[in-house]
Amino acid sequence: MTLKTETSSDSPITPFSTTLTRRGFVKMGGALFVSFALPAGFRAQTVEGHASLQANQLDPTLLASWLEIRSDNTILMRTGRTETGTGMSGYYTQAIAEELSVRPETISLIMGDTDKTPDGGYSAGFLYGMNNVRKVAAYTYQALLKLAAAQLDVPVGDLTVVDGVVSGGGKSIRYGQLVEGQHLDLKIPVSGEASRVDPSSPNGNGMAGLDGFTVTGDPPMKAVKEFKVLGTSFPAGHIPGKVTGKTQWSCDLTLPGMLHARMVRPATVGSTLVSAGTIDKTKFPTAEVIQKGNLLAVVSPNEWEAVQAAVSVASTTKWTEWAGLPGSENVTKAIREYKWSAPGESKGNAADVTAALASASKRIFATYELPYVRHAPIGPFLAVADVRADGSVTVWTHSAQSRGLRAQIANTLSIPVEKVVVRWLEHSAQYGRTTFGGDGAEGDAVILSQFTGKPVRVQWTLQEDLAWSSVSPAYVLDIKAGCDANGRLIAFHSASYTPHQSDARLLGALLAGMPCSMPKPGSWIATEWPYDKIQNRLEEAYGMPSIGAQSVTGGLRGNIMRTPGQRQQNFALEGLINEAAAAVGADPVQFRLDHTTDQRLIDLLKATAKAAGWEPRRSPQAKARKTGTAAVTGRGVCIMQRANAYWVGIAEISVVPATGVVKASKFTIGAEPGKIINPRQLDRCMKSGVVMGLSEALKEEVTFDKSKVTSTNWSRYKILTMEEMPEIKVVQISRDDKGFGGGSEAANAVVPPAVAAAFYDATGVQPGSIPLNPAYVKTLLKG
């Protein structure tokens, strides 16, 4: 296991103890590669059929942009996608190794740098990213076989490859020797377009081309039964560096002459600047105040001086008063009062549902409400920008969408995209907030660097991050359903109402009054319908602008967060299924089995229920109670289908009615994501997803008054601690015949519905909302 899987000879990253200069790293390379390498000074110009592709990035149609095989038999792959903490850099390595028939230890990756990678694309959609690198490897493998056949004078069909050694006719050759001195003119077929800010885009984020380039065609690929690396628990390459202190994080970057910045944010979400505070130069001799519009910052070569001076400036800065928020306790009311028109998306048949509801022998009406929550990483946003007088802009980021961010920055600065280079470095995970290329400190950093003419490092504080980063908005969901005389659901109608959740704007650009992408209100149906036996179904998703959208900061800028939309819609769907099962006296697991014919779901649900020791009975249990000082226990189940994967969660909890304290005692989680790529990483992602989901079920809520967010530290925005984590049991089913499915994201989303169901089982009260904190629980049980 190499300690530097994500660095390489032409990596921009120096050891952490060395200062980086922008020109320095170009010369740093060991220059070991001999072929398939980029020609010196290589810059892509155009891609056939893609005139919009800008310079300063690699041409995705050239093999050399993606892959290098070096004389020492090591392999370098480049992808614009990034590691977001779910281990996908390891999955990429496994896929490449599989298709090239090499050991994964020989592969290194360059990720996320816009000028050093060919494809761009979402880091969230790892399956597509893996498909890209896998196909490139597969095309390359075919080319290598042809080369070897010629060199060894053996027909391709007689060649075998093991660990990068091609053998046939009693002869063998390593890839490194094979490619030495060769130039392989291999074209990689791609489709796609460059990322850009596009006011005419139909997407709610006002962006286009965020998918990046997709490798097309159908090269021969290894069959599942031949897999040697995919399906094994190959260790993730990013881990050793993080454990030993060798990883260079974005927060470690320093540049010559760099200034440290701390931002001074408005007093309220809608305040505008009246007068900026001043600096006492006798106390803070090197600090300066920078102001552009409502963007206010303090910079200093000394970070501690910047911190102190910013506090001092904030205390004397005057802002207008503003009170345009409804307050978090009134958010449902505010959403209800919005003048809704047509849904953003609708699926199903209204007439059939209406008729079926009319004929139902039992009808159920339910309302569910979910609060504002946020991504809340441990490390607040940070960015470094170097805007030069020559018009070049370099930004070091931990965004999950380098190309999208590049487009945002070019748009904000009103410069061509090719003037901007975005370099990606590790940092705290994002959980979806940078998926559209926005949010973050990058807007602040480029504006301050342009203003000062120096490289600027902007470090947000936790309070700032918990108040000003984008946020996963509240949901209100109304459901009508009907059962027939046999206790089967025959009609289902859901309508979800939510503020905007794809605002990709950079706060710094908003505050400075500079150009931004334009968010467009709307919502979508994220549910992948698992209950094919419910024949009459209508789902509607309604979207409204962000709350406080009219303010200069864009209000509570809504954005996607892990398992977006489906996390919320599934809470309502699975809540309703529980209530329906209760209404007809059915066991909740059996009731779900009775409403699907999908064998993958059936198999996983049965396996997970068995692992959890589930005994069939109706829910709520006979001894359910909502009073008393003794704990009452309950159990609950939920399912989800997402991205060619199936999920089951079974929660076991205790509730003390008198105190309102809910504790999770055990959680069993099952996943079937087609072929499991890496069982151990999946195990880790499933368990950690349960932790995040429990955190949301029991603790998390963004609170705000009429002016500003108030949950701005860890004692006010509470997340799950280690002691609150229950025993977690994992069930995995791997299938060889269903391709690959999403195996990281959804684990959080099966937790809140299962916990709510367990609460219902324990108390006889179905929670219409979360978090199940003591105050809410006591209110629920009184009602």
């Binding site: 903490g85 470690d252 970070e303 705290s428 368990k687 950690s688 932790v691 997340i719 280690m722 984590m725």
Partner: protein, 174 residues
């Protein structure tokens, strides 16, 4: 005003110029270029900036640099040397040996984004020094209830951390 202060960091004497009240994290990161302690909350609520000060975990975001003068500061970069000294390893062996806590963090594949994990490993080293054979309940207690705050991981790696602490405990007894 800036003073010249002498610190002992990962076994080496370092002279730094800093105002005495400067939080230790800024000196370790910006003057000594150490990457291990990372800024999280800035108010001792999360643990991502933790280091050992004479073997005791401290949160460097609220610890003045002057408080560290005369004490031994250990970051994750210095953990291998701590272990090598404990086991009297030869220089050659020391160069290729990680602290058992670090090795366990790799073997158990603990980090996801990894931002908080430096502080988690520091807390683990401190715990194992005091309790070489902690139960799951004791590990949970140490990472949650020890002042000044719980060690928080937003990726949710707590189960992996428990596995790794127990693995490290075994390795350290071997």
């Amino acid at each position: 005003m800036a003073n010249e202060l002498t610190l002992t960091v990962n076994g080496a004497k370092q002279v730094v110029s800093a105002a005495p009240e400067t939080p230790l994290i800024f000196v370790l990161r910006n003057e000594l270029k150490l990457s291990g302690p990372r800024l999280g909350c800035g108010m001792a609520q999360c643990g991502s900036c933790s280091v050992l000060l004479d073997g005791e975990e401290v949160r460097t975001c609220i610890t003045p640099v002057s408080y560290a003068v005369g004490k031994k500061v250990t970051t994750i970069e210095g953990l291998p040397a701590v272990w090598a000294a404990q086991k009297s390893l030869s220089a050659a062996d020391a160069a290729k040996t990680l602290h058992p806590v670090q090795q366990a963090w790799i073997d158990e594949q603990v980090p996801q984004c990894g931002y908080c994990q430096s502080g988690m490993m520091i807390a683990a080293v401190e715990l194992l020094a005091k309790n070489p054979n902690p139960t799951v309940a004791q590990i949970k207690d140490a990472f949650t209830n020890k002042p000044p705050s719980p060690h928080l991981c937003r990726c949710g790696t707590y189960a992996a951390i428990i596995d790794a602490v127990q693995r490290a405990a075994k390795a350290m007894k071997a």
